[in-house]
């Protein structure tokens, strides 16, 4: 997209996004829920809620709790399953001209492969994001996401059956997230996205009961942003494939921080709950910044963090 001389488009493998803003999976329903608030075609992409082959009930309430500058969730990947998604949601997303990133989850390698096959044949899917990082369900891909071999194997297996760009979504709940970005790259991933939520918990001290029915949940929101920025920075230095950054983005300033740290694109999740009209504000803020800094193409800003040491500047007062 060009806005008064600024080029906001970004490249994720073979896929060109109109701008670097992607609605984060799990925070935007199936996209269609937000069509009254935002023209989905103006977003870089829409990452829909994580899909299994089959419908899933998810966890019983309470499913969320607010914490300082953030929230915990343990939804448990409630979802309609891939067939109903293709039948009931994808046609509307196509009509709304959304760039659809489908987030897929499996309990086994075969399930990821099967999902990738099915979705590669569906019309209107732009990319696959592999959910190997949901902290809330035992049988989910987290077992892949916490093992370098598991990560390599699932990316490798999915790449073999799909022409679509494949983007593993990485968990921050590991010692060295950059090694998982490297394993993904070696397996042929077109990009990596990070971070999923941080495993966390909250307790009601009066009743001594956990505030979530699942006891533990994933922390998101501004509280995690500095950690996510650090992890994006580490991954950028470890791999050549694009890094899609996320974690607590709530303003254009936050988007730019991730991009400078090394993100080619970003995802926005929790902030969309607070302000479903945030997207236009983010684009305006990014464009203003680019004009102020004479940056013609947003892709030129990616990873431009300046870590050289400087002479101390003395300011006399």
């Amino acid at each position: 997209m060009r806005l008064s001389g600024t080029d906001l488009s970004v490249q994720i493998g073979a896929l060109t996004l109109a701008n670097p803003l992607i609605a984060a999976s799990g925070c935007f329903g199936y996209g269609v829920e937000y069509a009254d608030a935002v023209d989905l075609s103006t977003l870089g992409g829409v990452a829909v809620k994580g899909l299994f082959l089959k419908e899933r009930e998810g966890h019983p309430p309470e499913r969320i709790v607010e914490t300082p500058s953030g929230m915990l969730n343990a939804i448990g990947l409630q979802g309609i399953g891939v067939d109903r998604f293709i039948r009931e949601k994808l046609p509307e997303l196509r009509q709304l001209r959304a760039t659809v990133v489908v987030n897929i989850c499996g309990s086994t390698l075969d399930e990821y492969v099967e999902l990738a096959r099915i979705l590669s044949d569906a019309e209107g899917v732009a990319a696959l994001e592999l959910n190997i990082s949901c902290p809330n369900i035992k049988e989910g891909g987290i077992t892949f996401g916490c093992s370098l071999h598991g990560t390599f194997d699932v990316v490798n297996a999915v790449k073999k059956v799909t022409p679509l760009p494949v983007i593993p979504k990485l968990t921050p709940n590991v010692t060295d997230v950059a090694s998982f970005a490297r394993a993904s790259e070696e397996a042929g991933a077109d990009a990596v996205s990070l971070v999923n939520t941080f495993l966390a918990m909250a307790i009601d001290i009066e009743t001594r009961r956990p505030k979530l029915s699942n006891i533990v949940g994933g922390l998101s929101g501004p509280a995690i942003r500095p950690i996510a920025v650090r992890m994006v920075y580490e991954c950028r230095r470890a791999v050549k494939i694009p890094v899609i950054g996320m974690g607590g983005i709530a303003s254009a300033r936050d988007v730019l921080e991730f991009i400078i740290a090394g993100a080619s694109a970003v995802q926005v999740g929790t902030a969309n709950f607070v302000d479903p009209f945030i997207w236009g504000k983010l684009l305006t803020g990014i464009t203003d910044y680019m004009q102020r800094h004479s940056i013609a193409r947003i892709s030129d800003l990616v990873g431009t963090i300046d870590t050289t040491s400087r002479e101390k500047q003395w300011i006399s007062s």
């Binding site: 329903g29 009930e57 309430p61 499913r63 969320i64 929230m71 969730n73 409630q78 302000d275 479903p276």
Partner: protein
């Protein structure tokens, strides 16, 4: 149409040490709101708390035939309700709405019986007005802890809404739960009312059961912990019965739906009470 506005506080009326009615200059939302719909609210300054909280629209404010805003009935129980309680004229409250599935209004000769528990009175001012405008004979069953926590009685009386009250301490109306007079009236009534309810979930469950026993339909407005109000987060789910002909066949016979977009108003017999 969905609107997000930093609404100016027109006035804030404290009804008690924890209840207040806050008037907000959000005319576009007020104009579009149907009875039973809600708004997502937070302090306009951003920051703490991070997430919005849902509130039923209490009244639509009109002056000189123009809609000037809406009011919210709030009980101070947490951070956002404290902000609403403490707000003063001129403050700004961020208001997103209108959201959710409204009540279905009946037509005469069907009567409307609205059953409110505590702060669950909130949706019944606009619903009562809509019903009266259609010529529906309307009754409000209203239960609270004590006489001091029964609000807006004159407001309803002056509009020809019959009032049947109960208090837990017996200081006004029946002593005990509001389902007592509801059952008594159902036994006695020749009318075949639609029963509307809003209040604590155990009360909604009891009302739905009473209605079912008397073969009357009910519509209940639930309140679950809500993250976004738009169907994005899947936190506010409530179990409803699998529909006949639905392809869903679960052992439980029920499935979760998002109360923000499938509700907050549900048929009483549709919910599977935990």
């Amino acid at each position: 149409m969905l609107v997000d506005v930093d609404a100016r506080v027109i006035r804030n009326t404290r009804l008690s040490a924890d209840y207040n009615v806050i008037a907000l200059a959000a005319p576009q939302i007020a104009e579009a709101t149907q009875p039973g719909q809600f708004v997502m609210v937070k302090s306009a300054g951003g920051g703490d708390p991070l997430l919005r909280r849902p509130f039923s629209v209490f009244e639509v404010l009109r002056s000189n035939n123009r809609v000037e805003g809406l009011t919210l009935l709030s009980k101070r129980v947490g951070v956002t309700t404290k902000i609403l309680y403490d707000a003063v004229e001129g403050d700004a409250i961020s208001c997103l709405g209108p959201l959710g599935r409204p009540f279905e209004t009946v037509k005469p000769p069907t009567e409307a019986w609205m059953v409110a528990g505590g702060v669950g009175l909130a949706p019944f001012a606009t619903l009562g007005e809509a019903l009266l405008a259609r010529g529906v004979k309307t009754t409000l069953f209203y239960g609270a802890r004590s006489e001091a926590e029964l609000f807006y009685l004159d407001w309803f009386k002056s509009r020809d809404i019959r009032l049947i009250l109960s208090t837990e301490d017996g200081s006004m109306g029946d002593k005990g739960r509001i389902t007592l007079p509801l059952e008594r009236e159902l036994q006695r009534a020749a009318a075949e009312p639609m029963i509307y309810a809003c209040g604590p979930e155990p009360m909604l469950e009891a009302v739905a059961h009473v209605a079912g026993r008397f073969n009357r339909p009910s519509q209940v407005s639930v309140e679950r912990t809500m993250g976004c109000g738009m169907g994005g987060c899947y936190s506010c789910v409530i179990p409803v019965r699998d529909g006949a002909g639905s392809e869903r066949t679960r052992p439980t016979g029920s499935h979760y739906v998002r109360s923000c977009i499938a509700g907050p108003v549900f048929r009483g017999d549709e919910i599977v009470w935990d």
